[in-house]
Amino acid sequence: MSDPKIRLRGVSKQFGPKVVLSGLDLDVPERESLVVIGGSGTGKSVMLKCILGLIHAEAGSIQVDGEETRDVRGRRRTKLMRKFGMLFQGGALFDSLRVWENVAFGLIQGEHMKRRDAKGVALEKLAAVGLGEAVAELSPAELSGGMQKRVALARAIATEPEIIFFDEPTTGLDPIMSDVINDLIVQCVRDLGATALSITHDLASARKIADRIAMIHQGRIIWSGPVAEIDDSGNPYVDQFINGRAEGPIHMEVRRP
């Protein structure tokens, strides 16, 4: 097997005394779609931001295409960023720009495309996430939560990057639109040959978009395998998670009256 597109080894990150990632290992093979599942607050978003270099991991190795990137900064980081597209969990749309300008941002600023051409591409991508031309002229504040998410998704894939991160792409969407988005993600991987790393709590979506699934718990990947094996992983943590049971090895820190 060829080298993985992204290889994480022993990645650690803590905020003050709070340890979030503690020696996390993960491989994302090229042109595959990996989905990471795990409880809320287990560090999934932090892991993505560490790979992107938005948060500096204290220890470990983060390789992209075989190149060590944990300490890359400045111009080389900007160049490296061209490989990535990211859908933020909260959308993170630029509220000073119109919807289409948001989607076209990477094309205009990163790839120096003409505004006119970029608008064409942006409208195309917006159509792919089910948003029409009327929406393109609005400002993000005028959209519903689910519409914002779709715009953010369109922005993440607009430059057709090699590696795309989706942080909860379907939360806040209705089941039908979720499925449209799932198809879109699958299409990015199949047709554009992208490598996708997604985070989701939605197991239906995970089963649909994943080639492989990995589960994160207490700052580590505790199980990973092909999507077909998720139901008989033999791992009690995974079983508890996919069946959504409150009883099991994973303890939610809630106090019962």
Partner: protein, 257 residues
Amino acid sequence: MNPVALVGRIFLAFLQAVGRLIMFAGDGLSHCIRPPLYPRLILRQMLDIGYYSLPVVGLTATFTGMVLALQSYTGFQRFNAESAVATIVVVSITRELGPVLTGLMVAGRVGAAIAAEIGTMRVTEQIDALTTLSTHPMKYLVAPRLIAGILMLPLLVLTADIIGVMGGYLVGTHKLGFNPGVYLHNSWQYLETLDVVSGLVKAAVFGFVITLMGCYHGYHSKGGAQGVGGATTNAVVSASILILISNYFVTEMFFSR
């Protein structure tokens, strides 16, 4: 805790903050002179900082000039030196009150707005999103504001100088009974180029200080709406204090010889 250790710790934290600010300023300035620049964004900031500040600055200058004429008249009347009123008004406005009052007003208006805007972008991950779209936030957000501040404040102050002198002229001729021709003549005659130039240099420094503090506090804000509120307050307070401090040093630089 040991009080000596506490003082030491506070002092170290202070030095650290100063160091961080200086690094930030250097980084921001270096992005101002390295291409690519964003003319579109610079123009927009120039409008925001310059043009839209005109009403506030104009009102401030008018009343300052008016009050100055009135006050210096009552003062100088005591030793029969009323003829100095025109000169006093023009010199105090161009050297001191024009730049300082304009600086303080703009610090309240623009510094707060910058800190709030950039701070909101920080806490909603828009700044992270910029980075993932291969755009350097220092270049895209900070540099245009610094450039606009440094260029527009001198223009604003020049306007304030003219309006302020006109305010003094109005009071002088209508209320204090000066002959219009004589008043204007006195204004001109004793005015030196250095009076105006030193005021404009101050203005450029203040423009830098205001935009820098807005950007710096916004950029480093954290923790949601409350964090952004804190950043806004800090930006205005620190800009105002730095304006008053730097005002002294620029004055000394010009007039100590």
